[in-house]
């Protein structure tokens, strides 16, 4: 096993990897930018290397600086987390050249699968069903419109690169096509450095169901059950769960087999996720393979008792997969809610700033992978994720109840969070009935508004706080000065 690895990421996912490394006795090296000098991954790792200013291109996306940090600290391997360089094949290739183990699939698989056109071709050859649409990129909006007529509106304009809901637009009619192509392409260029786009059919009443896979270097490939990720806003998953309430054992077996086939067709190694669309008639279509650890991986860990990061490290170290398909047994039900610094009452607009107060929910069956702490400044420069709140219980119903309790006990002051929105979603009838589709939010919550209902208590609390804290606030205003202690030098005995 590795003696020391570098984590080329930040915040909660860097901490997630560090946690398993600590369990395994593997040394950890963080990298950080100006904005992250006090970030949780810097505080939690054994070593930390400053790699530049806050712009991602100058730090977390800067391959040279990260490789240098790895070499300077004698790190044997690099874990990319998700986002940033996680699915950048140049980076994986560079690691291979430098003799540093990239904890993820080989650069070729990343390149093939990262390009949605190529991956669609590979799957077709591998006998995996794919969604109707183009199998080549297209720059001309006119041609896009023609193809849209063929497969029928609505359609999706999709960037061939990247993921995470960026560079994607729904197009319902020909007149929207030009602007959609332009902005999708621009967003993709900005996010992934590649503006190429293509078109595929958009299924309105479809579910997004993905399978976790694990593949070692000896050709052993298994799936670790499914995740239901239909609840999305702006094509960004916000609630994930497992098991899916619509998968029969048969369908699970069939889709699982397809997931393994997809992995093998692309020569996949390490942990990955095969995404499928499941339409209202239970036909499933391959969407893509995410060649990284997913944000939502914890729900799989909760029901299977498997540490997926440990599996990643074992595989990357060249060890044989210790798990067989028959060892994978789901128990109970798990749900994850993504807690971002964002304003649900204002189109989920990011709400960066200082965490004035943080109180995490606790208790049996509750896990909160949190990347911030009281006093930390959520940087404007990066994805505003605060934490992944995960619960596990005997049944879906119990899991929903536990998540509601956890959300109500989750206190975040200083930045806005979607907690009240998520509570309303989890309490809604369609969610409890399991009628979750990718258009769930648009259908049921497009006109959601804040609904504060304890106005009297809130006002009374304001006054009581005034009574209790006046002095305290004065006291604390003093502490503001303390950020740099040199105003106290006068007190020193020299």
């Amino acid at each position: 096993m590795f003696k020391k690895i570098l984590i080329a990421n930040r915040g909660e996912i860097a901490l997630r990897v560090i946690n398993t490394c600590k369990d395994m006795g593997i040394g950890t090296v963080s990298v950080y930018s100006d904005a992250d000098e006090k970030a949780i991954h810097v505080l939690s790792s054994d070593e930390a290397v400053y790699i530049g200013s806050s712009e991602p291109s100058e730090s977390y996306l800067n391959i040279d600086k990260i490789i240098k940090a790895a070499n300077d600290t004698n790190s044997e391997a690099i874990h990319p987390g998700y986002g940033f360089l996680a699915e950048n094949y140049d980076f994986a290739q560079r690691c291979e050249k430098e003799g540093i183990v990239f904890i993820g699939p080989g650069s070729k698989a990343i390149k093939d699968l990262g390009d949605k056109i190529t991956s669609r071709k590979i799957m077709v050859e591998g006998g995996v069903p794919v969604t109707p649409g183009l199998t080549s990129t297209e720059a001309d909006a006119g041609v896009m419109a023609q193809e849209a007529q063929k497969v029928g509106y609505p359609v999706l304009i999709k960037a061939t690169a990247g993921g995470g809901g960026k560079g994607i637009r729904i197009v319902n009619s020909p007149d929207e096509m030009e602007e959609a192509c332009a902005s999708a392409s621009r967003e993709a260029l900005n996010a992934f450095g590649n503006g190429e786009i293509y078109l595929e059919k958009f299924f309105i009443n479809a579910r997004h169901i993905e399978f976790q896979i694990l593949a070692d270097t000896f050709g052993n490939t298994i799936h670790v059950l499914e995740r239901e990720c239909s609840i999305q806003r702006r094509h960004q998953k916000i609630i994930e769960e497992t098991p899916s309430n619509v998968l029969t054992p048969e369908l699970r077996k069939e889709m699982g087999a397809a997931a393994v086939a997809a992995a093998k067709a692309s020569g996949y190694v390490n942990a990955g996720t095969v995404e499928f669309l499941l339409d209202s008639d239970n036909n499933f279509y391959f969407l893509e393979i995410n060649t990284r650890l997913q944000v939502e991986h914890p729900v799989t860990e909760m029901i299977t008792g498997i540490d997926l990061v440990r599996q990643q490290l074992e595989i990357a170290a060249g060890n044989k997969l210790s798990l067989k398909q028959e060892d994978i047994i789901g128990r109970g039900h798990s749900i994850e809610c993504r807690i971002y610094a964002e304003d649900p009452a204002n189109d989920f607009f990011p709400s960066p700033g200082k965490i004035e107060f943080l109180k995490e929910p606790k208790g049996p069956g509750i896990r909160n992978d949190c990347g911030v702490y009281t006093g930390f400044e959520v940087p404007v420069d990066y994805d505003p994720i605060i934490s992944k709140l995960v619960v596990h219980a005997e049944t879906r119903e119990y899991a929903i109840d536990k998540m509601l309790k956890a959300l109500k006990e989750y206190i975040i002051l200083g930045v806005r969070s979607p907690i009240d929105f998520l509570i309303d979603v989890l309490e809604s009838e369609p969610f409890s009935k399991g009628d979750v589709y990718t258009n769930f939010i648009e259908t049921h919550f497009s006109d959601w508004e804040e609904n504060p209902d304890e106005l009297d208590i809130a006002r009374i609390a304001y006054v009581v706080d005034e009574m209790c804290n006046r002095n305290m606030k004065t006291g604390l205003s003093v502490t503001q000065k303390v950020q740099t202690p040199f105003n106290t030098l006068g007190n020193w005995r020299l």
Binding site: P350, E356, V380, P384, G414, E454, R459, Y462, D465, C468
Partner: protein, 176 residues
């Protein structure tokens, strides 16, 4: 004593009298409350309101206090302290100037000086935290100045595009 407190532009007087140590009575309109309270930490209060236990979390900010209780967030202002100047908050009619909500980078500017713009038309696209937002014209008018270019870093309050409003009748004139 009495406070005048505003939540979502609704101001109500709150009458509070301390009856005993850590005990108060409160009156809001005709609703009365008996409370026992304890300070748990600088940001945490525990209230017993008519026998029911409530945990309240409070933080101060420029415009008042943010309070969280039972999963919901309340922004409360002391009406006696609220500046009488023009509020910079988003009105229901949307922004009145072309300015970002938060520190951002300009991705694209779709207008140039002299262009005529319709109310709601996109004029600048900014990106913050890797998310794009389109800033729109607050009213129909003519662009009198473009103050930014692509990749500029911009701050809330900074006017990115100056637009001179054109009244309805003038619009019709322009069209003739």
């Amino acid at each position: 004593m009495e406070y005048k407190l505003t939540i979502q532009e609704n101001t109500l007087p709150v009458e509070i009298d301390s009856t005993d140590e850590n005990k108060v009575t409160a009156k809001i309109e005709d609703r009365e409350y008996d409370l026992k309270y304890s300070l748990i930490s600088e940001n945490e209060l525990h209230l017993m309101v008519n026998g029911k236990s409530v945990n309240v979390y409070v933080s101060k900010n420029s415009s008042g206090k943010t309070i969280m209780l039972e999963g919901k967030t309340y922004q409360i202002e002391d009406a006696d302290n609220v500046s009488k100047g023009p509020k910079k908050r988003k009105g229901v009619d949307g922004p009145t100037t072309v300015t970002p909500h938060m520190p951002a980078v300009v991705i694209a500017v779709s207008v140039k000086e002299g262009d005529r713009v319709e109310k709601g038309q996109g004029v600048v696209v900014v990106s913050a935290m890797k998310m794009e937002t389109t800033l729109t014209a607050p009213y129909t008018g003519v662009v009198t100045g473009v103050n930014v270019a692509e990749n500029d870093k911009v701050m809330p309050g900074e006017i990115l595009v100056d637009i001179e409003e054109v009244k309805a009748e003038e619009v019709s004139e322009l069209e003739n």
